[in-house]
């Protein structure tokens, strides 16, 4: 018996796509690489958009930030779609267990009325902030022209919708799924003085046109103060009000925020390191928006954790930004 080994037909004639090989050499590429680099159209666009007199489709000048190559901004998590949904499916499974546990044991409805009201007033209205974040990230995903960057933003857009849905479910748990608690909570968002600076800030971000400015404001400055304040400091504070079970229902948000720091940090780092002009532009935006984010959260901190907690977080944000040569008004900084 002879064994015929047809090496010439089994051996690959190339290891990866040309556009990947031009960046990384012709060697086996990761799924992240093949899914993320140079997929979007770059040139020879046929028609100018009817809705924008200044730019072409996929126009890199939709932001004031200039990069030699936007693909220098990558995702440290290496999320392509499959990796992303796989990761989130695991997170949602854990969240589902917590929600099921809470519901079965009536852990929220057993809380004193006053505490329930605090949850509806101080925590649940954040679902509206999440919807704003969802809109902003969808806009960014539509405006960015490098897939490594745009995909991180569409994942974030969907995450924010999901977080808004988890917050809404807390209210549905409180009112036995009638929607009454959500109506009450939305009333606070619309009318309560406590929320007006935040609502104004969210509405102000919805008219920001420069997508990089928007990702900085939304995903770095606002989130950088809001998530630690609400899901760490306020979480502890709620625990002190005997509402520590709420903590189970916001675990997703804590895990999510910790993870999101990885890509937001990586993005800011690369962008400001690119040029002096970028650094200056980002610094100008930090100067403009960071105090607004701080002021928008003040009433919430005052009504719950106390202002010191917010100041402490502000200092942490300042330390974080300092690593990228950016200055902000941290209290202790």
């Amino acid at each position: 018996m002879s064994i015929e080994i047809k090496t010439n037909s089994v051996e690959p004639i190339r290891q990866t796509y040309g556009h990947i090989a031009r960046r990384f050499g012709d060697k086996p590429a990761s799924r992240y690489q093949e899914a993320s680099y140079d997929l979007e159209a770059k040139t020879n666009f046929h028609y100018r958009p009817l809705w924008d007199s200044k730019h072409t489709l996929n126009d890199p000048t939709r932001t004031a930030i200039r990069m030699e190559d936007w693909y220098a901004v990558t995702d440290p998590r290496q999320f392509y779609y499959g990796a992303y949904v796989g990761n989130r499916a695991k997170m949602q499974e854990a969240a589902e267990t917590s929600f099921g546990f809470c519901e079965k044991r009536n852990l929220l409805t057993r809380l004193p009325e006053a505490t329930q009201k605090q949850i509806l007033r101080l925590l649940v209205p954040l679902r509206h902030v999440e919807l704003g974040a969802n809109m902003n990230n969808s806009k960014i995903a539509g405006d960015v022209n490098a897939t490594t960057v745009s995909q991180m933003h569409i994942y974030t857009a969907m995450d924010r919708l999901g977080i808004g849905q988890y917050l809404s479910r807390i209210a549905l748990m409180l009112d036995g799924s009638t929607g009454a608690a959500l109506d009450e909570s939305k009333g606070y968002w619309i009318d309560d003085d406590l929320w007006q600076p935040m609502r104004k800030l969210v509405e102000d971000t919805l008219v920001v046109d420069d997508w990089f400015e928007l990702t900085l404001v939304q995903n770095v400055l606002m989130d950088g103060l809001l998530f630690p304040l609400v899901y760490e400091k306020m979480d502890q504070w709620l625990g002190e009000q005997d509402a520590e079970d709420v903590s189970m229902l916001t675990e997703f948000m804590r895990d999510w925020y910790k993870e999101s720091l990885r890509w937001t940090n990586a993005m800011i780092k690369v962008v400001v390191a690119e040029s002096e002009a970028n650094l200056e532009q980002v610094q100008a935006w930090v100067d403009q928006w960071e105090p607004q984010a701080y002021n928008a959260l003040k009433p919430l901190a005052e009504a719950s954790t106390g202002i010191e907690a917010l100041d402490e977080i502000r200092a942490q944000l300042s330390t974080r930004l300092k690593k990228f040569q950016l200055q902000s008004q941290g209290v202790s900084a």
Binding site: Q15, A41, F45, Y47, A157, L161
Partner: protein, 515 residues
């Protein structure tokens, strides 16, 4: 908390979990937050009438999509590990994948960008969320297609630079301009174009019979991504139908605007799919269903039922539908003949169909194949056998709108080209049909900008004046590897070697040439 009132049903609960998160802004003007919503003339009086097309919250979305992805990647891994490319019906089949990766996959990415954009443009939160979900799905398709083809790219030519080619290669300006047209339009037109006309009315023709054909040709990787993508498509199609009904119900003034968009986008989609017609009839060595049969089932039958349903809104079937229905007997053959003669400038190979295939076409196209198309192949096969493989050495005239060469014939007159021309502001423009000319007349300011590849070559914008330089340098098509006739190509030789036949197997070649 005292709970008295009734529990929410699924629909209302979903509403609370999506659009109830929105609010009426007071610190910024609504007009400034949603500046793109009005200019198209579509009147929306009440966004709360929006019927959510599917009620998938993010937790369920992550769960189901992760399950789909797990299955899909398990098959990709198995396919690569087992060198699945060796088990396909014939290497000619891979040419369909080359066209798919360069022509279709970049559109999935464009759809991702387009839906992310409209996912922000509407003031109705229900519509925004539905669009965003489609945006991320489209990103999925763009990426899974790269992964599905990754293994083929290692073993065959022509798959190596899809997005780069999509921006430049002459025939790829057909799909590129189609999506550029939709993305440069306003949000309502975009949805009518892509969600309704393309996804609902036409994509079945691409994804259902063609993917079934992939299975029939032993390509498990493609059929799996195709069907897995199409499972998202079922949601997208639901969105497509809901959006049309919603716009039509909102205001009677919307009806004529939507009708014109349906006319335009049906036609543009039909022209785009002419590429798919030849993939089905010519590039699947094992054939499942002819293009004309697929057209009958997925357009005439399903589209017929759909447009009957829309009658109550005052919508009629697309203008020039009769021309498209008549063309089902011709376009796959006309397109294949075109690509056959321009194979020197494509990233895939062409060939003369074998005798069995021609007999199959005679059976499927009894009125047209033997009369009009078989003689072409017999003539070209003879020329090839005598050492004169036919290539057209001039460049073709392109339609100003669809950008396909002006190759189509008049309805009922299969030997007469259906060319049209007109003058606009002193410039001459040429079209493949009355329908494309109509589209131009409605929005001439848009179509005068078309980046027509043939004209761009002649203007000297493609790195060279001769076809060879353009093809090699500007298109990244490797001459002698990716292009020209299939018989004798490196792909062909490799395939023969995989199958244990010598590459100068005269019988194989003679058999084909005799056809």
């Amino acid at each position: 908390m005292a709970v008295k009132s009734k529990k929410l049903n699924l629909k209302d609960k979903y509403q609370y979990l999506t659009r109830d998160m929105a609010w009426e802004p007071t610190y910024q003007k609504k007009k400034d937050i949603f500046p793109d919503e009005d200019f198209e003339g579509i009147k929306i009086t009440d966004w709360s009438q929006w019927e959510d097309p599917f009620r998938l919250t993010m937790d369920a979305y992550w769960k189901y999509q992760a399950e789909k992805e797990k299955k899909l990647y398990a098959i990709f891994d198995a396919f690569a590990q087992n060198n699945g490319h060796q088990n396909i019906s014939d290497a000619r089949y891979v040419n369909a994948l080359k066209l798919f990766l360069t022509g279709v996959s970049p559109l999935e990415h464009a759809a991702f960008q387009g839906y992310a954009k409209v996912g922000r443009q509407f003031s109705g939160a229900g519509a925004r969320v539905a669009c965003q979900m489609q945006a991320i799905d489209e990103l999925r398709h763009s990426q899974t297609q790269q992964h599905a083809m990754s293994h083929y790219n290692k073993h065959f030519n022509g798959l190596h630079d899809a997005a780069y080619m999509h921006d430049r290669v002459w025939f790829l300006s057909v799909p590129k301009s189609f999506f550029d047209d939709a993305r440069s339009a306003g949000p309502f037109e975009f949805l009518t174009a892509i969600s309704f006309s393309f996804e609902y009315v036409l994509t079945n023709l691409l994804f259902v019979p063609f993917m079934s054909g992939a299975a029939y040709n032993g390509d498990m990787a493609t059929v799996t991504f195709g069907f897995s993508a199409q499972s998202d498509e079922a949601r997208h199609m639901t969105l497509g139908l809901e959006v049309i009904k919603f716009i039509l119900e909102q205001h009677e003034d919307n009806v004529p605007i939507v009708q014109r968009w349906i006319d335009k986008w049906f036609w543009r989609g039909f022209r785009l799919l002419s590429l798919v017609s030849m993939m089905m009839d010519y590039m699947l060595p094992n054939k499942v269903m002819s293009w004309s049969e697929a057209w009958e089932v997925y357009y005439e039958q399903n589209g017929g039922a759909l447009f009957k349903d829309l009658e109550r809104y005052g919508i009629r079937p697309p203008k020039y539908q009769d021309v498209a229905n008549d063309a089902k007997h011709h376009i796959s053959h006309q397109l294949w003949g075109t690509f056959y003669q321009y194979s020197q400038a494509t990233n895939f190979h062409t060939w003369i169909p074998g005798k069995d295939e021609m007999d199959w076409m005679s059976e499927k196209y009894p009125e047209t194949f033997d009369k009009y198309y078989r003689p072409r192949y017999e003539h070209w096969a003879k020329e090839h056998a005598e050492g004169r493989r036919f290539y057209n050495n001039t460049l073709p005239q392109l339609c100003q709108v669809c950008q396909v060469p002006t190759l189509f014939t008049e309805m009922g007159e299969p030997t007469k080209l259906s060319h049209r021309q007109m003058k606009y502001e002193g410039e001459r423009y040429h079209f493949c049909s009355e329908a494309c000319c109509d589209i131009f007349k409605h929005e001439p300011e848009k179509y005068v900008q078309a980046w027509l590849p043939v004209h761009q070559i002649y203007q000297g914008n493609c790195e060279g004046g001769d076809v060879e330089t353009v093809v090699q340098k500007y298109y990244h098509i490797n001459i002698g590897e990716d292009n020209f006739e299939y018989v004798g190509s490196p792909d062909h030789k490799r395939w023969l070697s995989i199958k244990g036949k010598s590459s100068d197997d005269k019988t194989e070649r003679a058999k084909r040439d005799a056809a």
